[in-house]
């Protein structure tokens, strides 16, 4: 998986910082997560091909996560897109986008398919042969979901040296890849795991923004490789976190620790802070694997 942070600051776009948006690449498939104002410019800046995005996930309908979407939808049209675009987000997102397209008399030439979310329980919202995406219900001022991306276990791969050493013919290779044992001409049965390599461990990524401290998401994200968790505030403004239904860096770290995640990435910093270094310092007091998101940063895992 490759995660590109297009924007990771709270509230309003500014000259040097962008509101929330990120692109998750899984096996050559691009998933766009949130779409604050300016996202399409960030996509251009980071040379992400618009045509490779087919699925957009919107956590909630606050401007800093959503106001770049009408423009992006329009730009896809101007770029001549003709393939379907799927948009997953809170109920109301279809009405909003459709109203803006209607007022501009700018209906898309491609098919725009909305998957409106209303459930307060985690649900499977996307599945293909390589990936599943589930919602992570969060606690914010409006209806909000995080998203859990999980790779599926891929097929076992042929251990070509082993296979050849037994003189197995090519016509049996597909059976071996499918997990079958092989009976040789002399009657010996070779178990599949002697002829194949284990597939790589499937990776998982959880995006959790925006939310107050919500420990009941822990079972949903238990053991994920990477957790992006919002950390709007430092300890000096900790009293604002429950009021605004955001989290502190320490609270994000507490979630990461309870869920025993492989890596915590912090983001959604309030723009009141001159430097983001303190977010890492404070989180490290609670959990030891902390990285800081920043606009333009790329994480490979």
């Amino acid at each position: 998986m490759k995660l590109t942070i297009l924007g990771c600051y709270a509230a309003t776009p500014r000259t040097m910082t962008n509101p929330t948006s990120q692109v998750l690449e899984i096996k050559n498939q691009m998933f766009l997560i949130d779409c604050g104002e300016g996202t399409q410019v960030q996509l251009r800046k980071h040379k992400i091909r618009f045509s490779k995005i087919n699925h957009i996930f919107i956590s909630h309908l606050h401007g800093d996560h959503f106001f770049g979407l009408p423009g992006l939808v329009s730009t896809f049209r101007l770029l001549g897109r003709d393939t379907e675009m799927h948009i997953y987000g809170p109920k109301g997102i279809e009405e909003a986008i459709n109203l803006l397209l209607k007022l501009g008399n700018s209906w898309t030439n491609y098919k725009l398919i909305f998957h409106e979310l209303t459930s307060k329980e985690s649900e499977l919202i996307y599945e293909d042969d390589k990936v599943t995406v589930k919602t992570i219900p969060l606690n914010h001022r409006v209806y909000t979901n995080g998203f859990l991306f999980q790779e599926k276990l891929s097929s076992r791969t042929l251990d070509i040296e082993a296979v050849e050493s037994y003189g197995i013919e090519v016509c049996y290779y597909q059976n071996i890849k499918n997990g079958r044992d092989i009976t040789l001409d002399d009657g010996r049965v070779i178990p599949n795991d002697e002829l194949t390599f284990d597939p790589p461990k499937p990776k998982s990524y959880a995006f959790c923004s925006d939310t107050a401290y919500k420990p009941d998401i822990v079972p949903l994200i238990k053991g994920v490789d990477v957790l992006y968790h919002e950390s709007t505030f430092l300890e000096t403004q900790a009293e604002l976190a429950p009021k605004t239904k955001h989290s502190t860096a320490k609270e994000a770290a507490a979630i990461a620790k309870q869920a025993n995640v492989g890596q915590l990435i912090l983001g959604h910093y309030s723009t009141r802070y001159k430097s983001i270094d303190l977010f890492k310092e404070e989180a490290l007091e609670v959990f030891d694997k902390v990285l800081l998101a920043d606009d333009g940063k790329v994480f490979n895992f």
Copy 2:
């Protein structure tokens, strides 16, 4: 008047170019004209104080003139605005902004007053003691207005040398500024124009974007000091202009010539062109006072 171009390119925001938005300053009052995506970042970049903007004029509801407005309205709230904001634009603009605010549960703390436009005739939409604003009905793919900003004639100013030379007492100064003649103690009547200077000639600015070539706007903008007229295409793509209801540089210049304007500023360039110099060259074949808008440029007149 001081005109700051925040963005003057057509269609989509890109890394180095912005969609339409400009700020017109008249006697310390700021008018925002159009609001493409990224306008609020451009305002910050050019150090224009958000609190000085009280009136926003939207020509039409295409994204490249309008999709920055929801974010700007939200940012005003986050910045603690409490004074009224007036928004002038096509019917539907209130429904669109209100829906987005409702979905985000982010109603403004300040009063948002919409002035929805539907007339196909020019109408007076704003007036204070210094300025009037009238619509300029344009011909585009959706209902579109340009805007004509006209300063009012200000008061005559005292010619203090002349006044003192006649020994006129200070208590008469206000009468003189108001245009009265003065009768001296010896019975002589001094006509007002001997005691005052003419006020400066009121300036006028016409913003015309987006529109097909539309000569019937000429009487409305006759003799304006500055005309900003869209010029989406060069002659090589002239056949696209009527199809998309845009203008070429030559057509913009033809309007400027017929209206005998003081200065033509070209803008709304299609992003297909690598350089904008040719727009000026082509317009100069028709009209001799041509300037090119560009993002960040400031025009004082």
